[in-house]
């Protein structure tokens, strides 16, 4: 049993790409597979956007795709923040497409080529938490910049009776401070769970074939069909999680801009 056991957590291992660690001043600054795949995502994103910057009067297919992407984010910003939110559109565009591309690159099945396997950048809470804290930092900066200390009135809902204030202000404060954690945790867990699920069904396929019995082959076949379905679901989850991250960021920015 131990020989055929496949560890579903092994795929999340962050390791140096070139096989050696670089330590500078006691810090491990190796070029890891996580960094490599962030660069891959950046290059793909740069290629995607730069293909649509020709500004032709009659746009080609690529330009239509990029313009559609830009207007999708613009619409999201316009509906959730309003006209003042226009200046946040570049940040939300970068956020949405970085997460979307990172998620999609993470589920690409290039592991069928021997020696290669993708690494889902967003399946690490270090990465998603940095993105979430960046969003939260922008919310705080915009809120204090625009409203000064009046920003704290965010914790006082309109129309709530005065005697409720000792209860409602702490609750609002906690729900505000929990935002970056829930934002980062959601993306990280959704991606991690999906990858573990795929790996577990993949190990069922391998172990079923290793059993070399009719029942084993049957289980293997069923698991393989399941993998096809779960992969399709994963593609959906990739897009939904990227959308939810960008949408919630824009809602939090709306709070900072308009104070309820």
């Amino acid at each position: 049993m131990a020989a055929g056991k496949i560890d579903p957590m092994e795929q999340f291992m962050v390791e140096p790409v070139l096989g050696r660690r670089i330590e500078i001043g006691g810090f491990d600054l190796s070029f890891t597979n996580s960094a490599l795949f962030m660069i891959v995502v950046f290059v793909l994103l740069a290629l995607f956007v730069s293909g649509g910057l020709k500004r032709q009067l009659i746009p080609g297919r690529w330009q239509v795709a990029v313009e559609g992407a830009v207007s999708f984010i613009d619409n999201m910003v316009l509906t959730s923040i309003g006209p003042e939110g226009k200046k946040f559109a570049p940040y939300l565009f970068s956020l949405f497409f970085f997460i979307l591309f990172a998620n999609l690159v993470g589920v690409m099945p290039i592991a069928i080529l021997p020696g290669l396997h993708t690494f889902a950048v967003t399946s690490h809470i270090t990465v998603t938490a940095v993105l979430a804290f960046l969003s939260f930092g922008i919310v705080l900066a915009v809120g204090f910049w625009r409203h000064g200390f009046h920003f704290f009135s965010l914790f006082v809902p309109h129309g709530a009776p005065g005697w409720l204030m000792p209860v409602i202000i702490p609750v609002e404060f906690v729900s505000f401070m929990v935002r970056p954690f829930s934002l980062g945790l959601r993306l990280f867990v959704a991606m991690t769970a999906g990858h573990i699920l795929l790996e577990v069904f993949g190990s069922f396929v391998v172990q079923g074939l290793q059993a070399a019995s009719p029942l084993g082959s049957f289980v293997s076949l069923l698991s393989f069909i399941m993998i096809i379905g779960v992969s399709a679901l994963e593609l959906l989850v990739c897009a939904i999680q990227a959308y939810v991250f960008a949408l919630l960021t824009s809602l939090y920015l709306n709070d900072a801009v308009h104070l309820h």
Binding site: T79, S80, L185, A190
Partner: protein, 76 residues
């Protein structure tokens, strides 16, 4: 009962929350669809709220998953 057995039972109990979150997510999309079929014209404008509701109810299931994973891999 050994500690390992208790750990696995605990992880399984934590995983129940994921199923409950599935009910919540289904409720969000079901109610949206119910409303959208009655008034298809207003449906597109509510998609943002649909995903906010989805995100809020999904998060609780994901936290249940995190608890199960923590019990399995972190608690020794």
């Amino acid at each position: 009962m050994t500690d390992l057995g208790a750990m696995y039972i605990g992880a399984g109990l934590a995983a129940i929350g994921i199923g409950l979150a599935a009910l919540g997510v289904g409720n969000v999309f079901g109610s949206f669809l119910e409303g959208a079929l009655r008034n298809p014209g207003a449906a597109d404008g509510q998609q943002g709220r649909l995903f906010i509701g989805f995100a809020a109810s999904e998060l609780l299931g994901l936290i249940a998953f995190v608890v199960a994973i923590l019990i399995l891999f972190v608690v020794k």
